[in-house]
Protein backbone atom coordinates (compact mmCIF):
# COMPACT_ATOMS: atom_id res chain seq x y z
CA UNK A 1 0.00 0.00 0.00
CA UNK A 2 1.40 3.42 -0.78
CA UNK A 3 0.19 6.41 1.13
CA UNK A 4 0.85 10.01 0.18
CA UNK A 5 0.54 13.40 1.81
CA UNK A 6 -2.52 14.93 0.27
CA UNK A 7 -5.07 17.53 1.21
CA UNK A 8 -7.51 14.77 2.01
CA UNK A 9 -5.06 12.88 4.20
CA UNK A 10 -4.05 16.04 6.06
CA UNK A 11 -7.54 16.39 7.45
CA UNK A 12 -6.79 14.13 10.41
CA UNK A 13 -3.70 16.09 11.45
CA UNK A 14 -5.69 19.33 11.24
CA UNK A 15 -8.54 17.86 13.25
CA UNK A 16 -6.10 16.80 15.98
CA UNK A 17 -4.53 20.25 15.91
CA UNK A 18 -7.81 22.06 16.34
CA UNK A 19 -8.79 19.76 19.20
CA UNK A 20 -5.48 19.67 21.07
CA UNK A 21 -3.38 22.54 19.75
CA UNK A 22 -0.61 20.07 18.84
CA UNK A 23 0.88 20.07 15.35
CA UNK A 24 1.93 16.51 14.48
CA UNK A 25 3.37 17.68 11.15
CA UNK A 26 6.40 18.84 13.17
CA UNK A 27 7.38 15.23 13.86
CA UNK A 28 10.52 14.27 11.92
CA UNK A 29 10.60 10.63 13.02
CA UNK A 30 13.60 10.71 15.34
CA UNK A 31 12.02 7.91 17.47
CA UNK A 32 13.01 9.37 20.81
CA UNK A 33 9.40 8.96 21.95
CA UNK A 34 9.39 5.26 21.13
CA UNK A 35 12.80 4.56 22.65
CA UNK A 36 11.67 5.83 26.04
CA UNK A 37 8.12 4.47 25.95
CA UNK A 38 7.57 1.77 28.60
CA UNK A 39 4.76 0.06 26.72
CA UNK A 40 6.22 0.31 23.20
CA UNK A 41 7.35 -3.32 23.49
CA UNK A 42 3.73 -4.41 23.28
CA UNK A 43 2.42 -1.80 20.82
CA UNK A 44 1.78 -2.86 17.24
CA UNK A 45 2.09 0.79 16.25
CA UNK A 46 4.84 2.53 18.23
CA UNK A 47 4.49 6.19 19.27
CA UNK A 48 6.62 7.55 16.36
CA UNK A 49 4.65 5.38 13.94
CA UNK A 50 1.46 6.76 15.41
CA UNK A 51 2.68 10.28 14.65
CA UNK A 52 3.45 9.27 11.06
CA UNK A 53 0.08 7.56 10.73
CA UNK A 54 -1.67 10.75 11.81
CA UNK A 55 0.36 12.78 9.29
CA UNK A 56 -0.86 10.37 6.62
CA UNK A 57 -4.46 10.32 7.80
CA UNK A 58 -4.57 6.59 8.64
CA UNK A 59 -7.42 6.88 11.11
CA UNK A 60 -8.64 3.31 10.87
CA UNK A 61 -5.17 1.73 11.12
CA UNK A 62 -4.55 3.73 14.28
CA UNK A 63 -7.68 2.41 15.90
CA UNK A 64 -6.90 -1.17 14.89
CA UNK A 65 -3.44 -0.98 16.44
CA UNK A 66 -4.75 -0.48 19.99
CA UNK A 67 -1.86 1.92 20.74
CA UNK A 68 -4.18 4.66 21.94
CA UNK A 69 -5.30 2.55 24.85
CA UNK A 70 -2.04 0.80 25.74
CA UNK A 71 -0.37 4.14 26.43
CA UNK A 72 0.23 4.43 30.19
CA UNK A 73 0.13 8.25 30.33
CA UNK A 74 3.65 8.31 31.79
CA UNK A 75 4.65 11.57 30.01
CA UNK A 76 8.09 10.30 28.95
CA UNK A 77 7.52 10.93 25.25
CA UNK A 78 6.42 14.57 25.69
CA UNK A 79 9.32 15.24 28.00
CA UNK A 80 11.87 14.04 25.45
CA UNK A 81 10.43 15.07 22.08
CA UNK A 82 12.93 17.49 20.46
CA UNK A 83 10.04 19.05 18.51
CA UNK A 84 8.16 19.74 21.72
CA UNK A 85 5.08 17.86 20.58
CA UNK A 86 2.82 16.85 23.46
CA UNK A 87 2.33 13.29 22.25
CA UNK A 88 0.19 12.25 25.19
CA UNK A 89 -2.14 15.18 24.52
CA UNK A 90 -2.41 13.96 20.91
CA UNK A 91 -3.23 10.45 22.14
CA UNK A 92 -5.82 11.83 24.58
CA UNK A 93 -7.38 13.90 21.79
CA UNK A 94 -7.62 10.80 19.63
CA UNK A 95 -9.15 8.84 22.52
CA UNK A 96 -11.74 11.56 22.90
CA UNK A 97 -12.50 11.54 19.15
CA UNK A 98 -12.75 7.77 19.01
CA UNK A 99 -16.05 7.95 20.89
CA UNK A 100 -17.62 9.02 17.60
CA UNK A 101 -15.68 6.60 15.41
CA UNK A 102 -16.88 3.14 14.67
CA UNK A 103 -13.60 1.34 14.12
CA UNK A 104 -12.54 -1.94 15.64
CA UNK A 105 -10.61 -1.54 18.90
CA UNK A 106 -8.56 -4.56 20.03
CA UNK A 107 -8.46 -3.21 23.63
CA UNK A 108 -12.12 -2.56 24.39
CA UNK A 109 -11.76 -3.06 28.14
CA UNK A 110 -9.50 -0.10 28.68
CA UNK A 111 -11.98 2.57 27.52
CA UNK A 112 -14.65 0.55 29.33
CA UNK A 113 -12.63 0.88 32.53
CA UNK A 114 -12.36 4.66 32.09
CA UNK A 115 -16.13 4.87 31.66
CA UNK A 116 -16.85 2.75 34.75
CA UNK A 117 -14.28 4.77 36.71
CA UNK A 118 -15.96 8.05 35.82
CA UNK A 119 -19.45 6.65 36.47
CA UNK A 120 -18.41 5.61 39.99
CA UNK A 121 -16.76 8.97 40.61
CA UNK A 122 -19.90 10.75 39.44
CA UNK A 123 -21.99 8.68 41.83
CA UNK A 124 -19.82 8.82 44.95
CA UNK A 125 -17.48 11.76 44.35
CA UNK A 126 -14.57 9.42 45.03
CA UNK A 127 -13.30 6.23 43.56
CA UNK A 128 -14.66 2.96 44.96
CA UNK A 129 -11.76 0.61 44.31
CA UNK A 130 -13.37 -2.72 45.04
CA UNK A 131 -16.46 -1.85 42.98
CA UNK A 132 -14.30 -0.75 40.08
CA UNK A 133 -12.24 -3.96 40.15
CA UNK A 134 -15.34 -6.16 40.35
CA UNK A 135 -17.14 -4.32 37.57
CA UNK A 136 -14.24 -4.51 35.12
CA UNK A 137 -13.46 -8.13 36.04
CA UNK A 138 -17.01 -9.09 35.19
CA UNK A 139 -16.78 -7.22 31.90
CA UNK A 140 -13.57 -9.08 31.04
CA UNK A 141 -15.17 -12.40 32.09
CA UNK A 142 -12.37 -12.99 34.61
CA UNK A 143 -14.30 -12.57 37.87
CA UNK A 144 -11.50 -13.87 40.10
CA UNK A 145 -8.61 -11.93 38.57
CA UNK A 146 -6.18 -10.71 41.26
CA UNK A 147 -8.25 -12.19 44.05
CA UNK A 148 -4.96 -13.18 45.72
CA UNK A 149 -4.22 -9.47 46.15
CA UNK A 150 -7.50 -8.70 47.86
CA UNK A 151 -7.00 -10.58 51.14
CA UNK A 152 -3.74 -8.94 52.27
CA UNK A 153 -5.27 -5.55 51.45
CA UNK A 154 -8.57 -6.24 53.21
CA UNK A 155 -6.91 -7.62 56.32
CA UNK A 156 -4.79 -4.46 56.63
CA UNK A 157 -7.78 -2.17 56.16
CA UNK A 158 -6.39 -0.94 52.84
CA UNK A 159 -9.40 -1.88 50.77
CA UNK A 160 -12.91 -0.82 51.74
CA UNK A 161 -15.79 -3.21 51.20
CA UNK A 162 -18.36 -0.45 50.81
CA UNK A 163 -18.14 2.86 48.95
CA UNK A 164 -17.80 6.14 50.82
CA UNK A 165 -19.65 9.12 49.48
CA UNK A 166 -17.98 12.52 49.39
CA UNK A 167 -19.98 15.49 50.60
CA UNK A 168 -18.92 17.15 47.37
CA UNK A 169 -20.63 14.52 45.20
CA UNK A 170 -23.63 16.70 44.47
CA UNK A 171 -21.59 19.63 43.22
CA UNK A 172 -19.52 17.23 41.13
CA UNK A 173 -22.66 15.83 39.51
CA UNK A 174 -23.74 19.36 38.56
CA UNK A 175 -20.32 20.07 37.07
CA UNK A 176 -20.34 16.87 35.03
CA UNK A 177 -23.84 17.60 33.75
CA UNK A 178 -22.78 21.09 32.64
CA UNK A 179 -19.73 19.70 30.86
CA UNK A 180 -21.84 17.22 28.95
CA UNK A 181 -24.07 20.08 27.87
CA UNK A 182 -21.14 22.24 26.72
CA UNK A 183 -19.59 19.32 24.85
CA UNK A 184 -22.80 18.56 23.00
CA UNK A 185 -22.50 22.11 21.72
Amino acid sequence: MSVVFSKENLKLARKIQSLTGENVMLCYQCKKCTLGCPSAYTMKMKPHELMRAIQLGLEEEISWSGTLWICLSCETCNTRCPQDINILRVIDGFREMSKDMNYYNPQPFIPALHRIFMALVERFGKIYELGLALAINLRMLTPFKDIDMAYPMLSRGKLKLLPHKSRGAKELQQVMARIRKIEKG
Partner: protein, 289 residues
Protein backbone atom coordinates in the same frame (compact mmCIF):
# COMPACT_ATOMS: atom_id res chain seq x y z
CA UNK B 1 2.98 27.21 57.37
CA UNK B 2 -0.69 26.47 56.56
CA UNK B 3 -1.61 24.30 53.58
CA UNK B 4 -4.82 23.01 52.04
CA UNK B 5 -4.47 19.23 52.11
CA UNK B 6 -5.83 17.07 49.30
CA UNK B 7 -5.45 13.44 50.41
CA UNK B 8 -7.23 12.05 47.35
CA UNK B 9 -8.91 8.66 47.06
CA UNK B 10 -5.79 6.52 47.62
CA UNK B 11 -4.71 8.01 50.91
CA UNK B 12 -7.84 6.85 52.68
CA UNK B 13 -7.59 3.28 51.37
CA UNK B 14 -4.60 1.55 49.79
CA UNK B 15 -2.24 4.38 50.73
CA UNK B 16 -3.42 4.84 54.30
CA UNK B 17 0.11 4.57 55.72
CA UNK B 18 1.22 7.46 53.51
CA UNK B 19 -1.51 9.56 55.13
CA UNK B 20 -0.50 8.49 58.65
CA UNK B 21 3.20 9.03 58.12
CA UNK B 22 2.84 12.32 56.24
CA UNK B 23 0.66 13.74 59.01
CA UNK B 24 3.12 12.52 61.62
CA UNK B 25 6.07 14.17 59.84
CA UNK B 26 4.06 17.34 59.22
CA UNK B 27 3.36 17.72 62.93
CA UNK B 28 7.06 17.37 63.68
CA UNK B 29 8.07 19.91 61.05
CA UNK B 30 5.29 22.40 61.78
CA UNK B 31 3.41 21.94 58.52
CA UNK B 32 -0.22 22.77 59.23
CA UNK B 33 -2.60 20.65 57.11
CA UNK B 34 -6.27 21.54 56.60
CA UNK B 35 -8.25 19.06 54.50
CA UNK B 36 -9.84 20.60 51.38
CA UNK B 37 -13.56 21.15 52.04
CA UNK B 38 -15.80 18.51 50.40
CA UNK B 39 -13.05 17.33 48.09
CA UNK B 40 -13.79 15.00 45.18
CA UNK B 41 -11.72 12.67 42.99
CA UNK B 42 -9.24 14.40 40.62
CA UNK B 43 -10.22 12.09 37.73
CA UNK B 44 -6.74 10.50 37.64
CA UNK B 45 -5.92 8.91 34.29
CA UNK B 46 -9.54 8.22 33.37
CA UNK B 47 -10.85 11.77 33.06
CA UNK B 48 -8.21 12.91 30.57
CA UNK B 49 -8.79 9.79 28.47
CA UNK B 50 -12.48 10.67 28.14
CA UNK B 51 -12.78 14.46 28.11
CA UNK B 52 -10.13 17.16 28.29
CA UNK B 53 -12.53 19.69 29.76
CA UNK B 54 -13.52 17.25 32.50
CA UNK B 55 -9.87 16.53 33.30
CA UNK B 56 -9.36 20.23 34.02
CA UNK B 57 -12.71 20.76 35.73
CA UNK B 58 -12.22 18.14 38.46
CA UNK B 59 -8.97 19.64 39.80
CA UNK B 60 -10.47 23.13 39.45
CA UNK B 61 -13.45 22.12 41.58
CA UNK B 62 -11.07 21.23 44.42
CA UNK B 63 -8.72 24.16 43.83
CA UNK B 64 -11.68 26.57 43.96
CA UNK B 65 -12.69 25.24 47.36
CA UNK B 66 -9.17 25.84 48.62
CA UNK B 67 -8.97 29.32 47.05
CA UNK B 68 -12.40 30.26 48.32
CA UNK B 69 -11.37 29.25 51.83
CA UNK B 70 -8.34 31.50 51.68
CA UNK B 71 -5.51 29.07 50.90
CA UNK B 72 -2.78 29.83 48.39
CA UNK B 73 -0.91 26.53 48.78
CA UNK B 74 -2.21 23.01 48.35
CA UNK B 75 -0.44 19.70 49.02
CA UNK B 76 -1.35 16.55 47.09
CA UNK B 77 0.76 13.52 48.09
CA UNK B 78 -0.51 11.21 45.34
CA UNK B 79 1.44 11.84 42.15
CA UNK B 80 -1.57 11.25 39.93
CA UNK B 81 -3.55 13.93 41.78
CA UNK B 82 -0.58 16.28 42.01
CA UNK B 83 0.10 16.03 38.31
CA UNK B 84 -3.56 16.67 37.36
CA UNK B 85 -3.72 19.69 39.68
CA UNK B 86 -0.51 21.20 38.35
CA UNK B 87 -1.57 20.55 34.75
CA UNK B 88 -4.88 22.33 35.37
CA UNK B 89 -3.09 25.41 36.74
CA UNK B 90 -0.58 25.54 33.88
CA UNK B 91 -3.16 25.02 31.14
CA UNK B 92 -5.54 27.61 32.55
CA UNK B 93 -2.71 30.11 32.77
CA UNK B 94 -1.74 29.68 29.12
CA UNK B 95 -5.06 29.02 27.41
CA UNK B 96 -7.63 31.83 27.61
CA UNK B 97 -10.17 29.83 25.61
CA UNK B 98 -10.01 26.99 28.13
CA UNK B 99 -10.30 29.50 30.96
CA UNK B 100 -13.48 30.81 29.46
CA UNK B 101 -14.96 27.33 29.09
CA UNK B 102 -14.07 26.48 32.69
CA UNK B 103 -15.70 29.68 33.91
CA UNK B 104 -18.83 28.58 32.08
CA UNK B 105 -18.85 25.35 34.10
CA UNK B 106 -18.48 26.91 37.56
CA UNK B 107 -20.31 29.60 39.47
CA UNK B 108 -17.15 30.44 41.41
CA UNK B 109 -14.47 31.79 39.05
CA UNK B 110 -11.19 30.16 40.01
CA UNK B 111 -8.40 32.76 39.86
CA UNK B 112 -5.48 30.31 39.62
CA UNK B 113 -4.01 31.53 42.88
CA UNK B 114 -3.46 28.16 44.56
CA UNK B 115 0.03 26.78 44.09
CA UNK B 116 0.25 22.98 44.09
CA UNK B 117 2.93 21.07 45.97
CA UNK B 118 4.04 17.51 46.51
CA UNK B 119 5.22 16.83 50.10
CA UNK B 120 8.81 16.46 48.82
CA UNK B 121 8.72 20.02 47.47
CA UNK B 122 7.57 21.31 50.83
CA UNK B 123 10.28 19.39 52.68
CA UNK B 124 13.00 20.70 50.38
CA UNK B 125 11.65 24.23 50.59
CA UNK B 126 11.93 24.03 54.39
CA UNK B 127 15.47 22.77 53.96
CA UNK B 128 17.48 19.72 54.93
CA UNK B 129 18.77 21.58 57.99
CA UNK B 130 15.26 21.67 59.45
CA UNK B 131 14.94 17.92 58.88
CA UNK B 132 18.33 17.29 60.45
CA UNK B 133 17.30 19.22 63.58
CA UNK B 134 14.39 16.83 64.17
CA UNK B 135 16.34 13.58 63.93
CA UNK B 136 16.42 11.52 67.10
CA UNK B 137 17.65 8.30 65.55
CA UNK B 138 19.96 8.14 62.55
CA UNK B 139 19.08 5.40 60.06
CA UNK B 140 22.68 4.21 59.76
CA UNK B 141 23.16 0.81 58.16
CA UNK B 142 20.15 0.91 55.84
CA UNK B 143 20.73 0.88 52.08
CA UNK B 144 17.87 1.95 49.81
CA UNK B 145 17.10 3.03 46.27
CA UNK B 146 14.74 5.97 45.75
CA UNK B 147 12.03 5.39 43.18
CA UNK B 148 10.36 8.61 42.04
CA UNK B 149 7.81 7.25 39.58
CA UNK B 150 6.52 8.80 36.39
CA UNK B 151 5.13 12.28 36.94
CA UNK B 152 6.91 13.83 39.92
CA UNK B 153 9.26 15.54 37.46
CA UNK B 154 7.50 14.99 34.11
CA UNK B 155 6.81 16.92 32.00
CA UNK B 156 9.06 19.66 33.42
CA UNK B 157 6.76 22.42 32.15
CA UNK B 158 4.05 21.09 34.47
CA UNK B 159 6.01 19.53 37.33
CA UNK B 160 8.55 22.35 37.76
CA UNK B 161 10.47 20.37 40.34
CA UNK B 162 13.79 18.56 40.67
CA UNK B 163 16.00 17.19 37.89
CA UNK B 164 13.72 15.66 35.27
CA UNK B 165 15.76 12.58 34.32
CA UNK B 166 17.81 12.14 37.48
CA UNK B 167 15.90 13.52 40.46
CA UNK B 168 17.76 13.98 43.76
CA UNK B 169 15.21 15.25 46.29
CA UNK B 170 14.47 11.94 48.02
CA UNK B 171 18.10 10.84 47.81
CA UNK B 172 19.17 13.98 49.65
CA UNK B 173 16.57 13.46 52.39
CA UNK B 174 17.60 9.81 52.78
CA UNK B 175 21.25 10.83 53.18
CA UNK B 176 20.25 13.46 55.72
CA UNK B 177 18.50 10.74 57.72
CA UNK B 178 21.78 8.83 57.82
CA UNK B 179 20.83 5.99 55.46
CA UNK B 180 22.59 5.19 52.20
CA UNK B 181 20.86 6.14 48.93
CA UNK B 182 22.23 3.94 46.15
CA UNK B 183 22.41 5.48 42.70
CA UNK B 184 20.52 3.48 40.06
CA UNK B 185 18.99 4.02 36.65
CA UNK B 186 15.30 3.21 37.27
CA UNK B 187 14.39 6.27 39.32
CA UNK B 188 11.76 7.55 36.90
CA UNK B 189 10.81 4.45 34.91
CA UNK B 190 7.04 3.94 34.82
CA UNK B 191 5.64 1.05 36.92
CA UNK B 192 2.56 0.78 34.68
CA UNK B 193 -0.01 1.12 37.44
CA UNK B 194 -2.61 2.87 35.27
CA UNK B 195 -3.11 -0.47 33.49
CA UNK B 196 -3.35 -2.49 36.68
CA UNK B 197 -6.96 -3.62 36.25
CA UNK B 198 -6.96 -4.17 32.50
CA UNK B 199 -3.51 -5.18 31.25
CA UNK B 200 -1.79 -6.56 34.34
CA UNK B 201 0.71 -8.32 32.07
CA UNK B 202 2.26 -4.90 31.29
CA UNK B 203 2.27 -3.93 34.96
CA UNK B 204 3.91 -7.19 36.01
CA UNK B 205 6.69 -6.78 33.46
CA UNK B 206 7.46 -3.14 34.23
CA UNK B 207 7.29 -3.62 37.99
CA UNK B 208 9.48 -6.71 37.77
CA UNK B 209 12.11 -4.65 35.92
CA UNK B 210 12.11 -2.12 38.76
CA UNK B 211 12.27 -4.72 41.55
CA UNK B 212 15.04 -6.64 39.78
CA UNK B 213 17.17 -3.54 39.26
CA UNK B 214 16.68 -2.48 42.88
CA UNK B 215 17.78 -5.90 44.10
CA UNK B 216 20.79 -5.92 41.80
CA UNK B 217 21.77 -2.48 43.03
CA UNK B 218 21.98 -4.01 46.51
CA UNK B 219 19.03 -2.23 48.13
CA UNK B 220 17.41 -3.43 51.36
CA UNK B 221 14.24 -1.51 50.47
CA UNK B 222 12.73 0.76 47.83
CA UNK B 223 11.68 4.21 48.99
CA UNK B 224 8.69 5.79 47.22
CA UNK B 225 6.64 8.99 47.33
CA UNK B 226 3.38 7.94 45.63
CA UNK B 227 0.58 5.65 46.85
CA UNK B 228 0.06 4.16 43.39
CA UNK B 229 3.70 3.12 42.96
CA UNK B 230 3.63 1.71 46.48
CA UNK B 231 0.42 -0.31 46.07
CA UNK B 232 1.74 -1.70 42.84
CA UNK B 233 5.30 -2.64 43.82
CA UNK B 234 4.22 -3.96 47.22
CA UNK B 235 0.80 -5.46 46.43
CA UNK B 236 1.89 -7.25 43.26
CA UNK B 237 5.28 -8.43 44.51
CA UNK B 238 4.12 -11.96 45.39
CA UNK B 239 2.53 -12.40 41.93
CA UNK B 240 5.69 -11.09 40.28
CA UNK B 241 7.89 -13.46 42.27
CA UNK B 242 5.69 -16.35 41.24
CA UNK B 243 5.57 -15.50 37.54
CA UNK B 244 9.24 -14.60 37.20
CA UNK B 245 10.30 -17.47 39.51
CA UNK B 246 12.37 -15.34 41.81
CA UNK B 247 12.42 -13.97 45.34
CA UNK B 248 12.73 -10.25 46.06
CA UNK B 249 11.11 -9.64 49.45
CA UNK B 250 11.83 -5.97 49.02
CA UNK B 251 9.82 -3.76 51.36
CA UNK B 252 8.39 -0.67 49.68
CA UNK B 253 8.56 2.17 52.20
CA UNK B 254 7.27 5.71 51.96
CA UNK B 255 9.86 8.44 52.41
CA UNK B 256 7.61 9.85 55.14
CA UNK B 257 7.68 6.55 57.05
CA UNK B 258 11.48 6.64 57.20
CA UNK B 259 11.43 10.33 58.17
CA UNK B 260 8.92 9.60 60.92
CA UNK B 261 11.00 6.72 62.30
CA UNK B 262 14.11 8.90 62.26
CA UNK B 263 12.16 11.61 64.10
CA UNK B 264 11.45 9.06 66.84
CA UNK B 265 7.92 7.90 65.98
CA UNK B 266 6.82 4.35 66.78
CA UNK B 267 6.52 2.04 63.74
CA UNK B 268 2.76 1.90 64.31
CA UNK B 269 2.40 5.67 64.15
CA UNK B 270 3.77 5.69 60.62
CA UNK B 271 1.74 2.66 59.50
CA UNK B 272 4.57 0.12 59.18
CA UNK B 273 2.04 -2.66 60.01
CA UNK B 274 0.09 -1.74 56.86
CA UNK B 275 2.88 -2.78 54.50
CA UNK B 276 2.38 -6.09 52.73
CA UNK B 277 6.02 -7.07 52.19
CA UNK B 278 7.43 -7.13 55.71
CA UNK B 279 10.13 -4.54 56.41
CA UNK B 280 11.21 -6.42 59.54
CA UNK B 281 14.61 -7.37 58.20
CA UNK B 282 15.37 -3.98 56.67
CA UNK B 283 14.31 -2.08 59.78
CA UNK B 284 16.19 -4.62 61.90
CA UNK B 285 19.36 -3.34 60.26
CA UNK B 286 18.86 -0.02 61.99
CA UNK B 287 17.72 -1.58 65.23
CA UNK B 288 14.09 -0.55 64.84
CA UNK B 289 12.34 -3.92 64.80
Amino acid sequence: MRYAYFPGCSLSSSGIEFNLSFQCVSRALGIDLVEVRDWVCCGASSAHATSHLLSIALPVLNLSHAENDGFDRLIAPCLACMSRFKAANVELEHDPELREKIHEVFDYKYQGKVKVYHPLEVFLEMGLERIREKIRKKLKGLKVVCYYGCVLTRPPKVAQFDNVENPQSMDSIIRTLGAEAIDWSYKTECCGVSMTLTRSDIVLKLSNDILREAKEAGADAIVVCCPLCQANLDGRQRQIEEIYKTRYELPILYITQLMGLAFGAYPKEVGIQKLITSPREALGLIGLM
